[in-house]
Amino acid sequence: MNPADITVSRLARRRARAGGAGFNRTGAQTSPLALRSMQSYADEQAALPLPADGAARGIAAVRLAHAREAGEVGSVPMPGAITAAFTVVAAHLEGDAPELLVDKLGERLAWARSSVRLYQALMDKMAALAATAPAQPLQAAELRPLRDEALEHMHIAASALDSLGADSSALTPSAAISALVTNGVMQVLTDPRTTLHQCLEAILTVELADESSWELLMRLAETAGQEELLRHFHRAFRHDHAHVQKLKHWRDLLVLGAPGH
């Protein structure tokens, strides 16, 4: 740290210790004099005034060049043996929509499997918190139904794929990409340092996306004339809608209801 800023940082450190928190060193306010010096020096060293979007043009050009040659993540594994259900779907859905249905079901299946593991990780964290901070607004047992319903959604998606003659063990392109999204949430939930509030925010993003995707699948099923699939997808949607409400409620209790968490 810049010696000229030591007085400021000592003050901030005393305040931080009083509140029981650590000393976050990342912001400019921890070293205002050093930052002023850095900024003015950087401004002096810039040879030419930068165009407002100069950096963006360079990056965009590289991305454009790669996008032209990139191709796709992979192909959708379409049914090896065409079932009666798939025949009906193909008759009702235009263009690429039958393929999209298989792709999106594969995505829900992968998402649901991840969700089960995410809820398990959250339950493990709740068990650890119960030992050190017993007064939490929810208990691990309250998460069990959400985990179990995620497992049920996995089976709904797998059964739907099987009914269409598709391979439910295959990884569809959207399933592969969705795993990149949930990977970040997995990191949050399994980090022993994260708080319950942080974890609830993270898993809320999973449930919001899940709710929206089942809603889309309901519309596809309805268009495809698949009443039984629609009924199962609607059940999953209702579950996720309830999950979103519960997670928001617990999150709000943590943020608005009690200090010091």
């Binding site: 040659e69 191709g71 991840s114 990884l171 592969a176 997995m186």
Partner: protein, 391 residues
């Protein structure tokens, strides 16, 4: 490109001064995790391992071979660019854990293929011993992939490699003395020397990869497992590295390594199903031939030796890139009970006190490889797909 039973020194390849890659070529279009054959990924990981090994060898050579430093810097530059181009073939939708499962598939399939074609019985035994430990690590990582990420390892393995326990990882932690295998003789056959280089390179890469990605996991179970298996990787690096005959000149080591790279690229090109990737294997094979010619010239000038002394008999038959499932199951059934003591192999129960003490101490806070896979039984579509017991 070259034909069967090739005389390495008869092919000029691409001259060193003409070997060049642009940044766009180094960061080219990756393979597809979904549509490319798993053995394409196996080849990518193997060739990345071999290029990294080449760089490591050339780094060490530069420390002691002052007269060769310029040649080493020039060759190492293109080797590093090739290493980048190959490594970047892995698409970004591979999670670190999926890439890890793929890494162990390389170890199991490559070591099994080599064990069956290795003419020296002792070396073949070393490879059979090692592959059962890689098989177990694959099983442990598959358990973590299922229980942490909710994914099926078979999406990576594509039905080529079994997911079952091998020699239990918790029981493979040995004192360094018991990882030192007997060095091969200076006059070992070329095929044996090439095998050693390939297997050692793969082991080094696995160790270094696990040490790089391990800390990026937030989950303490994953962090502990990677710490444990990275150490196992170090054991394998020691084991396979010990096979290489000491005392050969640096230039001979370098020449052999370039020959191993030609052999591996040639083998990759012969079996590659993706035409775009095959073209890269062929191009890099020609680069390695050019590097081989360069090193051969150095050997003539500095050691007054004909590289044909080392490479007289030409390359062996190309490496096999196909499932070795039957062989692996046979070895598992017959040799999972084996343990190691100094350079030999003994029955479970006859290990050294030194290794037993080391194992007790390093496992003192628990065994992550045991904990992560408690009751793990691979099931297609993950454990969650197993029929639920009636309530």
């Amino acid at each position: 490109m070259v034909g069967e039973a090739m005389d390495l020194l008869a092919h000029a390849g691409v001259p060193l001064e003409d070997q060049m890659l642009t940044w766009r070529e180094m960061a080219g279009k990756p393979i597809s995790k979904l549509d490319d054959d798993a053995f394409t990924r196996v080849r990518v990981i193997l060739m990345n391992a071999l290029e990294l090994d080449a760089m490591r060898l050339q780094d060490f050579g530069a420390r002691s071979e002052a007269e060769l430093r310029l040649s080493l810097a020039c060759v190492r530059r293109i080797e590093q660019h090739q290493a980048t181009a190959v490594s970047w073939m892995l698409s970004a939708d591979h999670s670190a854990l999926e890439a890890t499962v793929a890494c162990e598939q390389v170890a199991v399939e490559l070591t099994a293929a080599i064990a069956q074609h290795e003419p020296d019985p002792y070396l073949a035994q070393v490879y059979r011993f090692g592959l059962l430990e890689n098989l177990d690590r694959l099983y442990r990582y598959a358990a973590l992939l299922d229980r942490l990420e909710g994914k099926d390892a078979n999406n990576i393995l594509q039905g080529y490699t079994d997911i079952v326990p091998g020699r239990p990882t918790a029981e493979t932690h040995r004192a360094p003395r018991d990882d030192l295998r007997r060095a091969s003789a200076p006059g070992a056959r070329l095929v044996s020397r090439l095998h050693m280089i390939l297997v050692a390179a793969a082991a080094h890469r696995a160790r270094d990869y696990y040490m790089t990605v391990g800390p990026a996991f937030a989950d303490p179970v994953a962090r502990e497992l990677y710490a444990e298996i990275a150490s196992c990787g170090e054991q394998h690096a020691t084991q396979y590295g010990a096979l290489l005959a000491p005392g050969q000149s640096f230039l001979e080591s370098w020449l052999l390594h370039e020959a191993a790279e030609v052999y591996a690229y040639l083998s990759c090109a012969r079996s590659e199903s993706n035409p775009r990737i095959r073209a890269i294997w062929e191009r890099f094979c020609d680069y390695e031939l050019g590097q081989l010619q360069h090193v051969g010239g150095l050997m003539r000038r500095h050691e007054h030796r004909d590289p044909a002394e080392v490479l007289a008999h030409g390359l062996p038959a190309p490496l096999e890139f196909r499932s070795q499932r039957d062989f692996v199951r046979e070895v598992l059934g017959e040799e999972v009970h084996l343990r190691a003591r100094e350079c030999g192999f003994i029955d479970h129960g006859a290990e050294s006190a030194e290794s037993l003490d080391y194992r007790r101490r390093v496992n003192a806070h628990g065994s992550p490889s045991t904990q992560v896979a408690l009751s793990y039984h691979w099931t297609a579509g993950t454990e969650l797909n197993r029929p639920r017991p009636p309530s």
